[in-house]
Assembly symmetry: C2
Homo-oligomer: 192 residues x 2
DNA sequence: TAAAATCGTTCACTTAAGTTAAGTAATGAG
DNA sequence: CTCATTACTTAACTTAAGTGAACGATTTTA
């Protein structure tokens, strides 16, 4: 598991043994059971998550209804609302049994001040994520639910297997019934 | 104009006179006429924009149709696809006469190495933007076109005044005709 | 193991957005 | 200033998503 982390970091900066040990000394690794709620609406979160294995999900409850807005899988990082320290508007829970890195703001400040190159990695990571998310947002805006589904089928085929349909549906911005119908429609088209 | 910039920066880090002069020495300030296309599909962009005055717009052309995905107004920053150096998939143009800061990667590297605190500001800015955009994306996903319009009316009422309807419509993910209808519907409701 | 709850699909019906077309108002170029 | 273009609205029709309900098939849990 440690190697997965260091392989990931090595894409951005190179670490000395000392630096690696400093990270390992932080007690970041956690196993979390499927269904565990990591963050509830109204709670204040000071922690960041990095998925080594498994899948976590972000969702809102609006008018008693779950609205899933994101899935994070292997090597995805999730830092809830760094801006304001306002209470969370959403929930985070585990779709599967997970192995996560969980870090808090204090750890990050400590690491950043000890090893300035982390600051750089964080900036690059943020900028990368920002650009990726920008593209995702643009794709969402410029396509229909059906196109979004086909797009997801291409880009994250694993998600469609590992995540319940009704969560996928709200991730695509539609109701479960509409997803069923839309899939039937696609199947019908492909027969012709 | 310089003061608008330094007031903005001062929210994140404090600058000495030397540092301010280093920035002013970079020749960042540019006046750009309404309608100017700053970036075309297929071009490679190495520059970032920061809006001091005016409004710039990001749009795709898909099947011959403009799809607007973002508007940037006063104090908004736009850094196109820092990740890959692939050619742009979208256009950027000026909705109004603008005063922009335009910086390129070389300038940023130079400034970042001379004054490490810029690295920090960039990280904080990226993280802030990421969180803001996350929230925007979530709101978009979890609401209907009508709710999106009402939401925009609350959050960026100026946009509805300064931007053409058909650009607004595609920003909301719908056709101009649907926006007209939707507005008529809202007006009808408010009469009752 | 049996009962209850949840999940995915299907159906009929409603609502809203897409499409095509037309008309009017505003804008811009010559 | 005029003509041509573009922008916005309205309308009729089509298409697809929302809604409410029903149905097995799972999964949970008591």
């Amino acid at each position: 598991m440690e190697n997965i982390l260091f392989d990931f970091i090595s894409k951005y900066i190179s670490l000395t043994e000392d630096e690696k040990n400093a990270i390992l000394g932080l007690d970041l690794f956690h196993s979390v059971k499927k269904g565990t709620v990591l963050l509830k609406e109204g709670q204040k979160s000071q922690v960041s998550y990095f998925v080594l294995k498994g899948c976590i999900r972000v969702y809102y409850i609006i008018d008693g209804e779950e609205k899933t807005t994101a899935f994070y899988t292997e090597l995805d990082a999730l830092t809830p609302h760094c801006v304001n320290k306002a209470p969370s508007e959403y929930f985070i829970s585990c779709v599967e049994d997970c192995i996560l890195l969980i870090s808090n703001a204090d750890m990050e400040i400590e690491i950043n001040s000890k090893f300035p190159k982390f600051e750089k990695m964080c900036r690059i990571l943020s900028e990368e994520l920002l650009a990726k998310q920008q593209i995702d947002f643009d794709e969402f805006k410029t396509s229909s639910p059906e196109q979004r589904y086909l797009n997801l089928l291409q880009k994250r085929p694993d998600l469609i297997q590992r995540v319940p349909q009704h969560q996928l549906a709200s991730y695509l911005g539609i109701k479960p019934q509409s997803l069923s119908r839309l899939r039937a429609r696609i199947l019908e088209k492909s027969k012709e």
